[in-house]
Symmetry: D2
Subunit: 435 residues, 4 copies
């Protein structure tokens, strides 16, 4: 966890305090079930909830015990017993440490997923608002970084919206992957613990019982979870890259927000750097990279080895905290993005009307000229625009061979930007359900 | 594509012939829609279907044209026109090359997904059959590679079944990700092509219209697809690793099938190597690695750049062909796996009864001894098993302090393997819906 | 291997024919050594060289034998015996298949490295030529995609030269990593083969004897080799990305070469796409990704497992063939790059003189004004340039507060581009040893 | 950074305190050079060293200033000025922030490399000691996890030694990659700072001047550095995997050290888990994964973007701290590894003499029998060993067809383990220079 790329709410999910609180709840819920099926006294379960619920666990004290026992769960249980008293002997009956550790990890991951889902909701809302704001803001579409044909800035944002809406669906699925609970004992056989305990704890924590576990919850679930975060991060990178491109000095169609008093990094007033989106690009690289060790974690030996654990100590917090931060930062960028429609128009017309050359070409073809002949006519006029900075429409209107084939009004009609944007409403209805 | 890791049906999906056939179908379906909305004559669409449908496209001829035009789609259309005749001018009206290329890629990926789904079905069937066959075959569960507590070989296979059943669900979702069609023109604005064409072609090909595209179908879809294949490959690696462990000389609880006449690699008859599962381990590394460039492909510049294309020429065929081969190979391994229950039993009893020590310990505690006292009693008997190869039950029955706390029948009762397998039916019902 | 991203010479290294020829040479050299130390007759070694050397190995015939024996080396040896006759029994004495396979792989990798080294030499030559050509071509340096201060296009190319010169050194080291030979028998103990055989074969093939091997040559060597190719590919990506940026419509300071008759993809004459460098970006993603499975290959079990083999069948050819193609393509791009100095100048002056604002600021400070005061003066003039398109020098000369602090000639002197390029010769001498 | 996988000395390199101390030294050394070439007074440089050298930088105070200025280097310089007084205005003249940041990062990375080098030295020493201790400890070599032929445990450790000796050479090269210093100003042109300053600072810090930089030191250097750490981590994984295999219950030829009083995780005294080497396996996955974002960092835009920075905030500390911890842990494992020669012998003889079958086969061939005939004879005796637990030597001596071909003493001679270890000294001399 890098503090400057972290937000408090997500960090809290991964704190020692939270972890111990979840451990306690898993144990206490299990006691309820054990009492229900007659393994331990109801009274004990009640006491455990009361005293443990009121306790403030002392992380340093637990660390101290762990240094002695070299076992984190035992250290916690010892500390818990200090609050609960004699009834503590009813805690953890027939359970194995992994039951607590893995169920806790999944609780943390589902909580993290919930935060990420609300991050995505905020991002989607910002994208929708700005998309409608710029639904009709015409801008040049670019393929290969080269001017192609007009589109609107709203369509660009609608595309991003559709992308993150897909990410949301993916995250819902990824959350379900890790929303499981295992209380199945040493090698997953329930030898010392009744499966009804697992069912009760799962329900109480909003999880599904793991249909079959080894000593651990199978790691293909977590691999899928982290791979999904990697894909979402890659979408963050795409939109961040788009903004970085738009903010280039020579393009400058949009800019990350600068507060009024803020200074660029030098005396040059144009020196406003897209540092937020560059930062997002780097963060995306990190989140994406975590998918690899998560996938390598799947092939644990037999009923478990512990190699996954160190990996998860890194990527559990790092992937979720970083993506949370990235989504929030991206939402801020979208929300406050400075958009320059007049610059978009100027760039669009950089080659004075040339963007319409293809339509003129098609019109000449439809007017009966061969494709080769049409191309020749268009190109000779286009080259004057390209090389001498002439105005394309003026050139065409002054070319008798062209005007012979197409009337002036027909030629002028081909310079209508509306031709390119006539289906924007269709696209918006598809993406937003409204236009 | 590595021929020795390839199966014909999947390879065929990626052949030039298949590609051109799909291109033709996309174009011809588009013509139907264009005719329907009055852009081209119905008669032309009919001719295109008839003549193109009957044509055998000549890959070398298309290559030859491409060498001239340096454009693959134009080369194909030129060749197609040689069959269709004058009506060929009605083909590809208002479309852009990417409409054909991207829709074709998605058709190929969905077909590949369908093959992979049937691969998974075959694997699941094999796992289910073998799981029930060995539902009650007791074997030692191992954590950290060290003997832990008993489980059954059927439970091991049930776990793999649950894992691949999840993979199946993931693949269904991944297939839906890429089951889209875009016929939206140069930068995705439908400027020169009516959205109804896209809807028609999508429906005809069993795809969904892409809600909003740029010049290309957004690559987050493909990233998710290949990431999913990476997770599935990681599950292949897990089961392959399990088999490799079981086949180790010192363990030898199971073996890959060897045909009767087959020789091991040397004069030693025990030299049967788990080469199939080792091979699967390597293939898993490859399929997994393809997730990275697929994720890097997402951040294309503006309305598209062509950097994704070279990546997809590798990973499109390689990931699907290799995973198809791997799943089929793994199915064969599972199907014919030689299982040695007697060896499982021997390994389980390697430390003559010691596997029951925990139950004895718990029983002593329940009989009123302190945990420390109980541990001391168990350990001193266990150490004789461990160090001198004694029999644990005999030792316990000969220890007066133990027999004072627990009667002989009670001690004997702790050596019941059935204690560990009593919930196997529960697990099977959860996984297979039957026990 | 993707044919369109492959060059014949590198492909030939990985052909079956080449492989069998190398296998033969390893076996024949080993026979020489075996004869020398008296294990087999000298005459036999001579016959083997003569008949095997003259033979044309029949790949299909070997495949046919392999289908029967399921062992590639045995199949080859059987086929070789068909040429050699009775003396064939002296071939492969005391060797294990991996001796042949691993030494052959390393021969192939070193040959591939040699080709890549000459690719790098060609690229370095092209970079050097173009760097000197544009040593003094002033262009704007950009940080964050935003105009910063002037540099020269030659310096940009010198940087790329330094980068690829480093890549060359890395590749020399990587080549040495894999330039080893192992002829050490079943588990690397030389039980059945004298170490002198290894020494002889190594020397004959230009390799070093592997100091200690298992059944295989340790795979950390190959991991380092492929990781190095990944870094080189990342440098290819950097330069390719630079070109893509320079070719953007709004920047257009350089372009990939277009042949005179070549048409862009549409009627618009400006539509020249940087398709070569976009392609290089994608290829870099692939080559880079191969580093991961190569690293996972290191942890083979005990004295070897075969999991590395399938990985290497992919990445051996794919990484080297693709990088060879990429380096050659990049060399072509550099060699023929269209450079537009006048456009560089125009972009540099996009904000009419503003690029010099920092120097004016420093001069004011040195003239005794406080930094705050200086900033205020510069900024109010700069803002007029920025917002109203004024000329910065004119504005400054018309601002009494500025001219009071700095004389006109002093102000004008700050607009000297030479100030920024005065150390270009130093840089060139560092990089090229001459200026 | 995960505290439990961190060691103090490496963590200290990455502390804020260390960073600010290095920043100060870079600035102060630069002042020396600036004074030398007459840009600032010698007296000022002296004062800066004296006051800055005596100062204790207040991290919280710098953070406070940064919150205001949003610029870390400016915040530090402001704080430094609080100690230095008026002469502070001579600090940082003509330098850009990246000069400080990038040179500092490289100082940190070279210091980290130095620690890692001494880690490797300690590991190499432990491996050498244990290798000689077990030079003649015969153990079975395994290919595919299956018994192959005998080797010695010392040879296994010699192999690991050779591997980590290579890692040491790689790390020396990787250290040289990042041991550079750039003090070259805004876009690397030295416009405002004389190249002699860079040369002086580089020399003072034990670095090389970067031949040509942009605003930043080129990131191919760092990519190579982190890729090298990834390869070293993969070697850690290999040896860790070997130990994990040896400690398996069924193999148990070696064990991680357990302190006398230490308890396994349950009542079963055999439950000693290879948790250290499993942990190392997971840590290797993490360190390896960092190579990917490091390679993606290379392609910065033009003269720099800031996307690399966030990546390096993660992987700079995480990769070096984790690998340092891993190497130290591995050294401890090797140093204290419990080795069980008698168990090695027992495993070797698991198939009572069968390990010598290949030698018998070869002897029969040399005695004139055909290979097929020899195989038949060996196999029929071997099968009785394999299936009925017979002793191979006894069987052979009782088979008239065998004894007819080979005399008893000749047969017995084939059961000499020394045959397999006769070249161990050669191997040791190659690896250690002595035997």
């Amino acid at each position: 966890m890098i503090p400057r790329y972290s937000r408090a709410e997500m960090v809290a999910i991964w704190s020692q305090e939270t972890k111990y609180r979840i451990w306690f709840e898993i144990e206490a819920h299990a006691c309820d079930a054990l009492a229900e099926i007659g393994v331990i006294p109801h009274e004990a379960a009640k006491t455990i909830w009361e005293r443990g619920g009121a306790a403030t666990f002392d992380v340093e004290r637990i660390d101290e015990i762990e240094r002695e026992t070299k076992h984190d769960v035992i250290a916690f249980l010892t500390h818990l017993a200090e609050f609960v008293g004699p009834d503590a002997r009813f805690i953890h009956q027939g359970m194995t440490s992994s039951d607590v550790l893995d169920t806790c990890l999944n609780v943390q991951l589902t909580r993290a997923a919930d935060l990420l889902l609300s991050d995505l909701d905020a991002l989607l809302a910002a994208l929708e608002r700005r998309a409608f704001e710029h639904k009709d803001t015409v801008t040049i579409g670019r393929s290969h970084g080269i001017h192609a044909e007009p589109t609107t800035f709203g369509v660009k944002l609608a595309l991003a919206h559709a992308e993150f809406a897909r990410c949301r669906e993916r995250l819902v699925a990824a959350r379900a992957e890790v929303a499981t609970c295992a209380i199945s004992g040493a090698v997953g056989t329930f030898a010392n613990i009744d499966p009804r305990v697992e069912e009760h704890v799962a329900k109480a924590l909003g999880l599904q019982p793991e249909p079959v576990s080894t000593q651990v919850i199978p790691r293909d679930r977590h691999a899928m979870f982290f791979a999904t975060l990697g894909v979402i991060a890659s979408c963050v990178e795409r939109l961040a890259t788009e903004v970085r491109h738009l903010q280039r000095t020579e393009v400058l169609e949009a800019e990350e927000y600068f507060s009024p008093g803020q200074k660029g990094s030098s005396a040059m007033p144009h020196k406003r750097n897209p540092v937020l989106t560059e930062n997002l690009t780097g963060l995306a690289r990190m989140v994406r990279s975590f998918a690899m060790p998560a996938m390598e974690n799947v092939a644990l030996w037999h009923e478990r080895d512990i190699s996954h654990s160190s990996v998860e100590r890194f990527i559990g917090p790092d992937a979720t905290i970083t993506l949370d931060f990235a989504l929030a930062r991206l939402t801020g960028v979208v929300d406050k993005l400075l958009v320059y429609p007049e610059r978009m128009e100027r760039n669009l017309n950089q080659f004075r009307g040339l963007v319409h050359s293809q339509r003129v070409l098609l019109a000449l073809t439809q007017a009966g000229l061969s494709r080769e002949e049409s191309y020749r006519l268009v190109q000779r006029n286009a080259m004057r625009v390209w090389e001498q900075g002439a105005d394309f429409l003026t050139e065409l209107l002054g070319d008798p061979e062209v005007t012979q084939a197409l009337g002036e009004s027909e030629i002028r009609e081909k310079f209508d930007l509306g031709y390119h944007t006539k289906h924007v409403d269709t696209i918006f209805r598809r993406v937003f359900g409204r236009a």
